[in-house]
Amino acid sequence: MIIVTVNDRLGTKAQIPAFPSDTIKQFKVMVAMRVGREPHEILLKRQGERPFKDQLSLADYGVSNGVQIDLEVDTGD
């Protein structure tokens, strides 16, 4: 189990436990539960990198324990 920190840089910061094998889509559901926003509206990315794709897992993006991920609003494009 790893603990990932999700930060939207606007004052919301949540720590979410997950497995590295979880897909981004599943992880987004967890995040949605915590931040109160629909999962399809959530866009996750490492700072300064391209947004994470839903099909890949956290491990694919090298997210390990204590990593911080940026949370943005996904407008669909």
């Binding site: 436990p17 094998s21 559901v29």
Partner: protein, 653 residues
């Protein structure tokens, strides 16, 4: 991450069909789900699952190690403490005192001794204090400080006020060598500041004005400080002042024969009572601007008159005054120059002036004198008009004016219609003028005018008056000739001769034609009368007549040819005339034709120029030689004269 929230999450995960997160408080579930055959870490999942456990294990190991170390440290500390306590064991100083001494008897026995001890100590203390007091009471004199250096210039202490000197801060060994030095911190700082300010000033290396009067001058003295180090201004207390500079400055201060030396700074505040240096420039308040005296010719004249009136009072300037009287007031200029020439003895002039002013003052208050003087002045005619410097009337201008006057008279009396009877040679004009004369209503007036204006005579000025067109052809011709509008002397006779010849030729031609006609008619009459034609047939008759005609024409042609050969001299002249009737020369005509051909004329500028030229030409032709209103001909004479003499003036009449 507390267990509750993870439980919450696990619910969701289970709903989504995901593996639940391990809850920290719970014991790890049986590892049974992992199959036996599968060796650990073969798949990603197992490794992931193992990783957390490994992490946990590592943490635990770390915590255990920490605990162990802590325990070791505690043991060590305890052992050290024990060691220290072991050293402090044994008998102390206080333990040496026997118990028996502490009883009352012993204490009383020792009381005396102890009293003595206390007294002795007190006495010693008192002695010490007395010695100190004595030492303090002994005054410090200059002798105490003799031989101690003071690291300041003597001058700095002359300002007065108390100065606190302290020992200079130096190294111990340096102080051994040089001895102690005293200095004032404030003064030291001020000196440093001054030095820095001096460095900031850009001093020229060579100052030609800085002449050393003592003659002690080294080569390139400005580098002396750099090479030899700074000269220290210092003096030793208790020594007689030896440095000359200080002595001089002291002397300065004591107002005794100041000798200025180079490089010696003297505080000028001490020299307040010394006289201020004389400035090269005058102070603005001292300057008095002299107002330029207005020349009053009148007043000077009055004074001159005064001098004349009272010749006895001033003896010396009499000759000069006499001169003035003689020359009279109209020659003021000349007299002035005379005066200036005479001023060669200043003292004499001054004394004269003084005398004159004194005399004037004496006289000033007497009113009857004033009245007399005024009367005198009024009696004298004032010939100032001549001096006014206006236009000067001399022979030439008068002459020209006379010209003008004549012209004016002529204009006023336009008599020409009547007068030409006497003199004009043109006969055709005579009748016309006489006719007009009849028409004239006031004949008497005309005649009286004729009587007053003596046109027949030569004008007094000696210049002939201009002819008028109305006087006749000859007069017109003369007028044009005067104005140089026609070319008078060239080809006149030739033209006449040509004209006559051509006329002659024409007449001859006509005469011959007539003669031929007559001859022809006569011959035909004769033929008809002779009856010769009757005998012939019509055809023969025609034939004969044709023959006769040719013979006759041949004869006529021969005669005519001779005439033409002898007398016919045609003059070929190409005349071009523009729309206004002006005759054009070749160039102009070409331009005109070209413009006509091309259907467009010159531009605006050229047209304007041409029109202006034509206008000027027209005006020139219309102008009289003697017209005074414009600058033509003779009327410019006066203005020319004026210009030559540099006199301004306007002709009013």
């Amino acid at each position: 991450m507390d267990a509750a929230s993870i439980e919450e999450l696990n619910k969701v995960r289970r709903a989504m069909g995901m593996k639940p997160l391990p809850v920290p408080g719970e014991a790890p579930k049986a590892r049974s789900p992992t199959p036996e055959g599968e060796d650990k870490g073969s798949t990603l999942e197992t490794r992931e699952a193992a990783s957390y456990d490994n992490y946990k294990k590592a943490l635990e190991a770390e915590a255990a190690k920490k605990k162990r170390e802590e325990r070791a440290a505690a043991i060590k500390k305890a052992r050290e403490m024990a060691q220290r306590n072991a050293i402090l064991e044994g008998k102390g100083i206080a333990d040496d005192v026997e118990d028996d001494e502490l009883d009352a008897k012993a204490w009383l026995k020792n009381q005396k001794k102890r009293q003595k001890q206390i007294q002795a100590a007190k006495k010693a203390e008192e002695d010490k204090a007395a010695a100190e007091a004595a030492a303090a009471a002994a005054e410090h004199t200059a002798r105490d400080l003799a031989g101690v250096k003071v690291a300041h210039d003597m001058n700095t202490f002359l300002e007065g006020g108390d100065q606190v000197l302290t020992l200079k801060d130096t190294g111990v060994l340096d102080a051994e060598e040089e001895g102690d030095e005293l200095e004032n911190i404030e003064l030291r700082e001020r000196e440093k500041l001054n030095e820095r300010l001096d460095l900031k000033k850009k001093k020229p290396l060579y100052d030609p004005n800085d002449i050393d009067e003592t003659g002690e001058r080294t080569i390139l003295s400005q580098y002396d400080e750099e090479i030899n180090g700074k000269k220290k201004k210092a003096f030793t207390l208790g020594q007689t002042i030896r440095s000359t500079a200080t002595a001089d400055s002291l002397a300065d201060i004591l107002d005794s024969a100041p000798v200025q030396r180079k490089g010696q700074t003297v505080d000028l505040d001490m020299l307040d009572d010394a006289p201020a240096p004389v400035s090269d420039y005058m102070d603005a308040s001292e300057i008095k601007v002299k107002k330029p005296k207005k020349k009053k010719t009148k007043s000077t004249r009055r004074r001159d008159d005064d001098d004349v009136l009272y010749p006895g009072e001033t003896e010396t300037p009499e000759t000069e005054q006499q001169m003035e009287i003689d020359s009279g007031p109209s020659y003021t200029k000349k007299r002035k120059t005379f005066d200036e020439d005479f001023v060669d003895d200043d003292d004499l002039q001054q004394s004269l002036a003084r005398q004159r002013s004194a005399a004037l003052k004496k006289r000033k208050t007497r009113p009857e004198e004033l009245a007399k003087q005024l009367r005198e002045e009024s009696n004298q005619p004032e010939p100032e008009a001549a001096e006014a410097g206006g236009i000067v009337i001399d022979e030439i201008s008068e002459f020209v004016d006379a010209l003008y006057a004549e012209r004016e008279e002529e204009k006023k009396a336009p008599k020409p219609k009547s007068q030409p009877r006497a003199e004009t040679a043109v006969t055709a004009m005579e009748e016309e003028s006489s006719d007009e004369e009849m028409e004239d209503a006031d004949k008497d007036g005309q005649q009286s005018e004729r009587a007053t204006s003596p046109t027949g005579e030569l004008p007094t000025t000696g210049v002939e008056e201009e002819k008028l067109v109305a006087q006749g052809m000859a007069a017109t011709f003369a007028l044009l000739k005067d104005r140089r509008l026609i070319d008078a002397e060239s080809r006149g006779s030739e033209l006449v001769k040509n004209f006559r010849e051509s006329a002659h030729f024409k007449a001859e031609l006509a005469r011959l034609m007539k003669k031929f006609d007559d001859e022809t008619r006569l011959q035909r009459e004769r033929d008809r009368a002779s009856g010769r034609l009757d005998r012939m047939s019509t055809r023969e008759r025609e034939e004969w007549q044709r023959q006769q005609n040719t013979i006759r024409e041949q004869h006529q042609a021969r005669v005519m040819e001779q005439l033409f050969r002898e007398a016919y001299k045609p003059t070929v002249e190409l005349k071009y005339v523009d729309a206004d009737g002006r005759s054009l020369d070749q160039k102009e005509a070409f331009k005109e034709l070209s413009h006509q051909f091309h259907g467009k004329g010159s531009g605006k500028g050229k047209t304007d120029k041409r029109l202006k030229k034509l206008e000027a030409e027209r005006r020139r032709m219309a102008q009289s030689m003697l017209d005074a209103s414009q600058n033509v001909g003779m009327s410019t004479a006066a203005s020319h004269q004026g210009k030559k003499r540099k006199e301004a003036g306007v002709r009013l009449a």
